[in-house]
Amino acid sequence: MSELRKDLISGRWVIIATERSKRPDDFRPSGATSPAPEAPGFCPFCEGSETKTPPEVYALRAPGTPPDSPGWTVRVVPNKFPALTPGPPPPRASRGVYQSMEGRGVHEVVIENPDHALELGDLPAGHIRDVLRVFQLRIKAIERELHYQYVQIFKNKGKEAGASLSHPHSQIVATPIVPKRVKEEIYGADHLYRTFKECSFCRILREEEAAGSRIIAKNPEFTAFAPYASRFPFEMTVMPKRHSAFFTDVREDELGPLAEILKDVLTRLKKTVNDPPFNMVLHQAPNPSLSAKDWPELHLKSHWHFEIIPILTKVAGFEWGTGFYINPVPPETGAEFLRQS
């Protein structure tokens, strides 16, 4: 029989379809992972193509190498053809009952390494740590200089996950409003804080550690687990054990262990389900200067984490209509396969 599970924070229900439970082999695409379609010709993110991108806003590069030239290890550039353009946060306009505003925002691309074929999980942990540090630096700069309310960091890997280019990269999009899904998480965490008298994410982490069946990997600073109400097969959450609302609060000595656990779980995912497409999304509290004003004590209630969602099933009519998801792999089963890999 299937089981309905409720996600604690969002209140979203998921159908765990245990009677049609699948094994990792059921999701393996036939043949090898699809090759990079653009590899034979040209890639704007490869070393040597720097003139084809807008001028870099930040780069880790060899001493003495000028900006926008080869010699970098991590490079951040603005989107060349952005949907949102930087500028002061715009006022809202009304058209009858409808609201709108100018399309202001920041859209940057973090090119994670110069090598076209080397995915994030394939990089040495030290290089992943550098990428994470660059995320922190850009979040701080965007929040401080441009006053955007929310900075979203995400990675689309593979065409089915929305990547138009296979060269490993992440994206940073900052918006002048706090997105609805982020607000839902804040409201859920706020409500639970009053019930539990503590951060609900810290509580989840404690329960997961006690149960153990959904744990995928851990180290003294971080835990990776399959969420109790996972929407998707082999879905993973990577969460810090030390309570912290903002990703920018991750200390220098914590970046290494974070890089190590990310490398670990991405490698496990690659081995278990044959290098699937995935989305990796950072969840964190809005711009600290704004959240302190609009959501008092949010720093106590919100808890940053990464969500990794392999794209192995399709979101279709039922999910769009109801907000329910059907997951054919119980998270305990998925976690067990990932642990064993």
Binding site: E38, P40, G41, F42, P44, F45, S49, T51, K52, T53, K80, F81, P82, A83, V109, S164, L165, H169
Partner: protein
């Protein structure tokens, strides 16, 4: 000497319009209706700038500019598409500008002048 522009556009009426309007600006225009014809012309002669549509029969404009980048990277390229949505494809970064088609060619002409340093 007139600067040479290669226009790749599958709609013949638009080809004629571009030829007429851009010639009036003082450019030498060669218009072709598909990517293969564009690659053939590029193999025969050199151009100062390329303007290409994306949605075309056969090889699309993104495949065309990717192939051109594999041959030579120094020709300025303008994508001229009716669709904004292709901006989400990072391979469009091979182009130097992205101009959405409109009834006026002012933006296209302005980008051409800017890229050719006129």
């Amino acid at each position: 000497m007139k600067k040479k522009i290669l226009v790749v556009e599958d709609e013949k009426t638009l080809c004629l319009l571009y030829e007429e309007e851009l010639s009036r600006e003082g450019y030498d225009i060669t218009a072709v209706t598909d990517a293969e014809a564009a690659l053939a012309r590029l193999a025969q002669e050199s151009f100062d700038l390329i303007v290409t549509d994306i949605r075309m029969p056969g090889k699309n404009g993104i495949e065309l500019i990717t192939q051109i980048m594999g041959l030579r990277k120094d020709i300025p390229i303008i994508i001229n598409s009716a669709y904004q949505s292709y901006k989400e494809d990072f391979m469009t970064w091979a182009a130097d500008a992205y101009v959405v088609k409109s009834s006026s060619l002012d933006e296209l002409k302005s980008k051409i002048k800017q890229l050719l340093g006129d």
